[in-house]
């Protein structure tokens, strides 16, 4: 029984406005889903609902064959618009903190998280390891936030505009990391406008109500 992310007749309201309603999706391990649609249609809200940050108005989310004690949200990495970085701390201090703070989502043997140094090398910012995060450029900051996904093992990646502020080389690098994640049995849900740097991706198009 492979692991599956299942959401049934999900609806979400924010500030009294119905953002989306009776949405259903099922994703097996190794599958990726791109959520597309015009701005403000609720792509980010969907990710935040899946992450457990926002209570859905109705419907349920569950991880089949995941870790029973953990909630659905604790299986997920959330990579939002904000980088969650402290400018006063150095790059390594930031990453080391998240490494020891975030509880791993799956302790399966096949799933080995990287060490902070390896993660920085994988994203090409290891030269800035000891520099304060304040001195990083926007693209480097995004890559440092991405490094957080590599250092803690969580099966589901919720990515909000993952390719924004990344240059071509970094985008290709991201594509490799995502395919490695899928190959190792992970799940990816990405809200994005551009095409995903991945081979085959399912798409979910959110439509504004007629």
């Amino acid at each position: 029984m492979t692991m599956r992310l299942v959401a049934e007749n999900l609806s979400c309201e924010r500030g009294g406005r119905r953002v989306f309603s009776d949405l259903a999706l099922t994703l097996e391990a190794g599958r990726a889903l791109a959520v597309t649609g015009p701005n403000g249609v609720g792509k980010s809200s969907l990710l935040r609902v899946l992450a457990g940050l926002v209570q859905p108005a109705s419907g349920s989310i569950r991880i089949e064959d995941g870790d029973p004690e953990l909630s659905a949200g604790e299986h997920c990495h959330y990579y939002g618009h904000l980088d969650a970085l402290k400018p006063a701390l150095s790059v390594l201090e930031n990453l080391d903190f998240w490494t020891s703070f975030l509880a791993p989502g799956r302790t399966g043997a096949r799933w080995q998280p990287m060490t902070p140094i390896e993660a920085l090398e994988a994203l090409g910012i290891d030269h800035a390891g000891d520099l304060p995060a304040a001195y990083l450029s926007a693209g480097q900051r995004r890559r440092l936030a991405l490094a957080r996904l590599l250092v803690v093992a969580r099966p589901v990646w919720l990515l909000d505009e993952p390719t924004s502020a990344l240059d071509a080389a970094s985008e290709a690098r991201l594509g490799e990391l995502m395919s490695d994640h899928l190959a190792a049995g992970g799940i990816i849900v990405a809200a994005t406008h551009q095409t995903m740097p991945l081979a085959e991706v399912g798409t979910l198009r959110l439509e504004a109500p007629a």
Binding site: P87, G124, H127, A128, L131, P132, A134, Y135, L136, S137, G139, Q140, D167, A169
Partner: protein, 252 residues
């Protein structure tokens, strides 16, 4: 040697490197002479006895506290009006030194007050305005520490320093304006000092020693500040050195 020659940090570093040993030597000699005169030459006060020796620390420290603030006020003018590149470096370097001298004058004053006035602290015009000066020093240091970009921090601190400069005349003339317990001015006066020379000379030598000490520490702190800014620019550069995957040679 117009002030502009000093504008270039590298030339300032070279110049201060040559100047510092002489200044330090002069400062040590001044302190030696001053302390010798304080303990062996100056007579005891007929009322206070030996406790008058505290004056040789308290008065120079208070003078230095105010002189240091004046240096910061002038530097602030340099930052805001003449746009002198080293002005905010000088202001930032002088702040901790000024705070230290103010602290010394407050503590020695309070320790002198216990035997003489019977209490460590009394809310008297002179003491209170010096305490306000101490809070302003700490406020300036805090302001420097909260604004990340040194240029913006320099301008903000310059404005605050100039606004705070109003406090200096209040301290100087507080003893005359309000009937205070504190000793009225007896050295820098319109009609000349009213102290006996044997007590005055050690005081002047100690004041000279303190002033030299200030310049030594101020120059050293300014050098540190220049190095700190260089380090910051190099760190900024290091972060962006290998933005893409290109190697440094290709970028050269």
């Amino acid at each position: 040697m117009a002030i502009l020659d000093l504008a270039n940090p590298t030339r300032f570093l070279a110049l201060s490197a040559r100047l510092l040993p002489w200044l330090a030597a002069a400062c040590v000699i001044a302190f030696a002479v001053g302390l010798y005169m304080t303990f062996f030459v100056a007579p005891d006060d007929y009322q206070q006895g030996a406790t008058v020796k505290i004056m040789y620390l308290h008065v120079p420290a208070a003078w230095l506290a105010m002189m240091c603030y004046s240096v910061m006020a002038i530097s602030s003018l340099g930052t805001l009006i003449w746009k002198h590149p080293l002005a905010d470096v000088s202001a930032k370097a002088a702040a901790p030194i000024g705070a230290a001298f103010t602290l010394i004058s407050l503590i020695t004053g309070s320790l002198w007050g216990k035997p003489m006035w019977g209490t460590y602290w009394v809310w008297d015009a002179r003491l209170t305005s010096v305490l306000v000066l101490f809070i302003m020093y700490l406020g300036l240091i805090a302001l420097w520490r909260t604004i990340e970009d040194p240029i913006r921090a320099g301008k903000a601190a310059a404005v605050l320093t100039l606004v705070g400069a109003i406090n200096l005349p209040i301290i100087k003339f507080s003893v005359d304006w309000w009937n205070t317990l504190h000793q009225p001015a007896s050295v820098i006066r319109m009609d000349g000092p009213t102290i006996h020379p044997t007590i005055l000379w050690p005081l002047l030598v100690m004041a000279l020693a303190f002033t030299l000490l200030f310049f030594v520490m101020h120059l050293m702190a300014m050098r540190n500040e220049i190095l700190r800014r260089r380090l910051r620019t190099m760190q900024l550069q290091a972060a962006s050195a290998r933005v893409g995957v290109a190697t440094p040679q290709a970028a050269e």
